[in-house]
Symmetry: C2
Subunit: 626 residues, 2 copies
């Protein structure tokens, strides 16, 4: 990305149709809150009638948590060169505790703005940055502690409920009791509940005042489990246009947040394009950019350069920062005997700095000053696990848990300043050691939301680490992790392409949902029940549309039975038309209904006594009249 | 498959190169047992030296459990029209308890043999079937109970150990303690241990005397977790040639057994081709073929037809039969109120039969006669879970557990007759309800091996059910399940193609291995440790070759960094050449070595005291001289 192509803006302005087309059988709906400008997006999946064979009945719309933003709304006018509407701008302004700056206050931000060579690359429709007025704190935690329910909190409450109350009493509402390991999820999420969770630090709403385009969402163990998708240019490949497209693509498939891990030359400008167009919170690892500024020489990093980077990014609107302040000098030698040393980039940068200077980490020493910046823009902390294990062998070792304890201390310091905090976790951990990670995190970090990378449950499957880690992610989500950072099939091997991102996100949506079900999250089972009902009734289209990836489900089905008639066939490709277990189940059901059989004893008695030749005669046509 | 193509045999005789080429960096080795004809195959992966940057050292061969049979042995002469060598024939003959029959004793087997129209389809190089002499029992359990260690048992012992003793004291032998939930896995598997496990019914060795081509393997909770891959023609698609190829393909990627679930016209002949060429045990569901024989009319099934089918298949060499003898009449109405009724094909066939006749299942009533057939050929029971849940909502219900209790009763009946037994399990189960399945199975079925389909942990991801189920499979494997039946991405949607089979198998190898690690199976972590060491030392080729799918890992790597030089680059595509956390870890290690730093206090002290300008100067070339 050394040369800036002249048509970059034009190319960036075009999104692929496959990134924005509405999902089949779905429509975008908005649920209005206590005021007109709280409009919470959801995706309503409509269903067909139950076919006659199973007794005609209508099937309700199913509401799905929708991260895709305006991109899937046919009514929305998308212009990437202008960015998304600033839906939260009024809420921020109303609070009267911010001031508009004349321009970037970071040295680097100003320098980039003044550089005319970057004109061809720059996002033009910028707003002036906001900052808390002197003496003010604009974090959601600060408001929450004061007892204020912000519009953001109400938005989150409506969003989390997914209109489940509408179906609670229907036969789709049946759900197994969960095992929540101490989580405390109410039957209905109220705005007050959101406030209380944010106030006590058990949830965060990552919402930088300079990213008013984002749709508020919460990360916390008493909310739906969220997932993050990483993306970013690297020195080796990728471009701005690709990155913006990837963000939209990621939000489409269900990424709740993205992390921009770019390390190339123009990351400042790339980031602006991404944030201005992102409906989901954006996280970064500022140390990556700080390192760029010192030409990749970790030992040349200084607190001043890092501080300027924080301000630069906070004024662009980054919603959370990964900060590896727990990588303390005394912990670094603990990693020397590891199988795979330090595998976190941020962790190894700081380790190198500490060793080169023989000093305690400047992140640790300046942590309180970092808090002051975070609260002036409401950037949430994602306290990085720089010493996470990079192999099964290194799981749960001294270095990892020493750092975790430090993250707990730092959480208290941040909370004292009303800064929002989540804690990053591993990594590579065999299944029997996963729960210890969650237990120690809860113990040391006061229930601050846990945000883990997988964990990968074995090292032996390069090319399939979305799966090795999806297993661990589902389990740690069940145990209480609030957000799962996805892993793609290219992990350890290369940079993910579009299909890898989609595969990683769907895998993690599976893990998150499996965790919600296992915790007993109210209403989580509605979608499973609806999809299974559709499957049983051979409503193929509904089965596809209710799934996490309707397009792939349809494509797979069509490979075996490509004709449209097969979509209304009362058999599936596994058994063929002659024999079908679903059909037989329906016959069992009809028989039991007819005989009024409800229990085993009765069935045995009835069954032995009579003959029912007519039963053999039952059964309708194999195909429904389309 | 109505017409038999003239060139079928020729086409069947050809395997694709990609199904048989040796794995890169690997060689086939055979470990000889107490007698020359016990030659246990393994795959030895050789490794490169550690590069200078990390301190040159040689890295040992890693032995991998090898299910691929002679197909990956460059020395083996493969001729599908002749079948594999009968490696167990002498062992069977030596025992002197079998007799060679003049031909098939089943009516159907004779009829097919006499039908000239099938000549073009028939496998020619058939052996005459064997059967136990009158009054004899040829099951491995029978020998085991008598205290006899068969060559099959010794073969299994050698195979399970994977030469791990060689590495036990190396630094690759480090392993986390497991949590085995009551499994009792010894540090070394001895032939006597295998005998004892088989004798007490805690493991089975599925080894029909008419399938002497198979390489013995064990299924039991104190052995490595195994996986099964399903395949089969259906009325809709597929052909014999494809099925044989799929079997070889499945064994290549790590399927420990296959189940042939064919339902088409020529399943008898297809099965012969598969078994004669299969190095892994073959399972079937005989009721499927019995149903074909009565033109798909479940109510027309009779004990006589079923019995004839058992004998037909036993004389071909099927190693285990799924028999749904637990679907009793009184349980059928329990499924009427389910979300998805009965989803097992075998279960629904039997349910339909029971209802149509208002009689108890003929499988249940004739179970002792079935045992007599099983022990005459050593076919193992796989007691089918015909009432397994087909949706999250139906998990762990009355019908499912009623059937499980019956399977426990039947296990005792089979064991009294020295028949080998495993128990099939679900299905669709949310995470919090998985363990109850394992606990109840252990309780009711006396530790007979559990063999589960997944379970799928959510219903909402058609197109990704290898992943929804891989999560559940890893967990239930950890809890004690002995064999995991794979699920492909096409589950619920269509028939799997080659790539789906590969994806399903690798997913399940991941689940099985993650379970072995979590149980603390001795030596299980060696491969993880070796692969992670290779990864840390930038031995890219070794990292690929030690993985479950070396070809895909290499392909993914090449997408980002296609040049061969990148395979010896000391950076990966994630971070690029400028900054690399692995490199920094190595610097940490060197630093700690140099300073003799072993603990945190010391590090802090040393670190604060001195400057080490030279540290900043260290670091070699980014590229190793290739």
């Amino acid at each position: 990305m050394s040369a800036i192509p002249k048509d970059l803006k034009l190319r960036t302005a075009e999104l692929k149709e496959e990134s924005t087309r509405p999902f089949p059988g779905s429509r975008k709906v908005y649920v209005t809150g206590s005021r007109e400008d709280i409009r919470v997006p959801m995706r309503a999946v409509s269903q067909h009638e139950t076919p006659a064979l199973f007794g005609v009945e209508s099937n309700p719309d199913i509401y799905i948590y929708d991260t895709s933003g305006p991109y899937t709304d046919p009514e929305a006018e998308i212009d990437l060169t202008r960015g998304l509407p600033a839906l939260r701008a009024a809420w921020i302004a109303e609070r009267g505790d911010t001031e508009e700056l004349s321009g970037p206050t970071s040295e680097y931000g100003r320098k980039r703005l003044e550089d005319e060579r970057l004109d061809g690359l720059r996002f033009d429709n910028r707003r002036k940055p906001l900052r808390a007025k002197p003496g003010h704190n604009v974090s959601q935690m600060h408001y929450a502690k004061k007892g204020i329910i912000t519009p953001e909190m109400e938005f989150v409450a409506i969003r989390e409920n997914m209109k489940r109350a509408e179906l609670a009493d229907s036969n789709l509402g049946h759900q197994h009791p969960g095992q929540s390991f101490g989580a405390a999820i109410p039957a209905e999420i109220t705005p007050e509940f959101v406030r209380d969770e944010v106030a006590r630090g058990r949830a965060i709403i990552p919402n930088n005042i300079n990213h008013p385009e984002s749709e508020p969402m919460a990360i916390g163990r008493n909310f739906l489990v969220k997932i993050n998708a990483n993306m970013g240019t690297s020195a080796v490949t990728s471009s701005i246009a690709e990155e913006v497209e990837k963000m939209v693509w990621s939000a489409r498939w269900g990424g709740d947040t993205i992390m921009d891990l770019s390390t190339g030359k123009n990351i400042h400008e790339t980031r602006e394009w991404i944030i201005r167009n992102s409906p989901v919170p954006v996280g970064t690892v500022p140390i990556y950019q700080a390192l760029e500024k010192v030409n990749g020489e970790a030992e040349a990093l200084t607190w001043e350069i890092f501080r300027d980077t924080l301000i630069e990014q906070a004024e662009q609107g980054v919603d959370y920062f990964t900060i590896h302040a727990g990588v303390r000098l005394p912990y670094v030698p603990m990693t020397a005997k590891r199988r795979t040393g330090i595998v976190s980039r941020g962790g190894s940068i700081m380790a190198k700095w500490c060793l080169a200077h023989h000093r305690e980490s400047f992140l640790y020493e300046h942590f309180e000053e970092i808090c002051e910046i975070m609260k002036a823009y409401d950037v949430a902390f994602s306290l990085g696990d720089g010493l996470r294990p990079g192999s099964i062998e290194d799981a749960n070792d001294e270095a990892q848990f020493a750092e975790l304890e430090t993250l707990g201390e730092l959480t208290q310091i941040a909370w004292e300043r009303d800064c929002q905090v989540m804690i990053e976790g591993p990594g590579h951990v065999p299944m029997q050691l996963i729960k210890e990670n969650m237990d120690k995190q809860l113990e040391h970090c006061g229930e601050a939301p846990f945000y883990t990378l997988g964990p990968l449950t074995t090292d032996i499957a390069p090319g399939y680490d979305h799966i090795t880690s999806g297993i661990g992610a589902a389990m740690i989500g069940w145990y209480g992790t609030a957000m799962l950072c996805y892993v793609t099939p290219k992990e350890h091997l290369g940079l993910p392409n579009r299909e890898d991102v989609r595969e990683g996100i769907i895998t993690y949506r599976i893990a998150a949902h499996a965790a919600d079900l296992a915790k007993g999250h109210p209403g989580a089972q509605i979608r499973d029940n609806a999809l299974s009902k559709a499957r049983f009734e051979f409503r193929w289209e509904d089965q596809f549309n209710l799934g996490l990836d309707p397009e792939k489900a349809r494509e797979y089905h069509d490979e075996t039975l490509p004709k449209d008639s097969a979509k209304v066939a009362h058999f599936c490709s596994m058994c063929g038309p002659k024999f079908c277990s679903m059909r037989i189940s329906q016959e069992v059901r009809e028989y039991a209904d007819e005989k009024g059989l409800n229990d085993a004893e009765q069935a045995l008695e009835e069954g032995m006594k009579e003959k029912a030749e007519e039963f053999r005669e039952t059964g309708g046509d194999l195909y429904r009249k389309a």
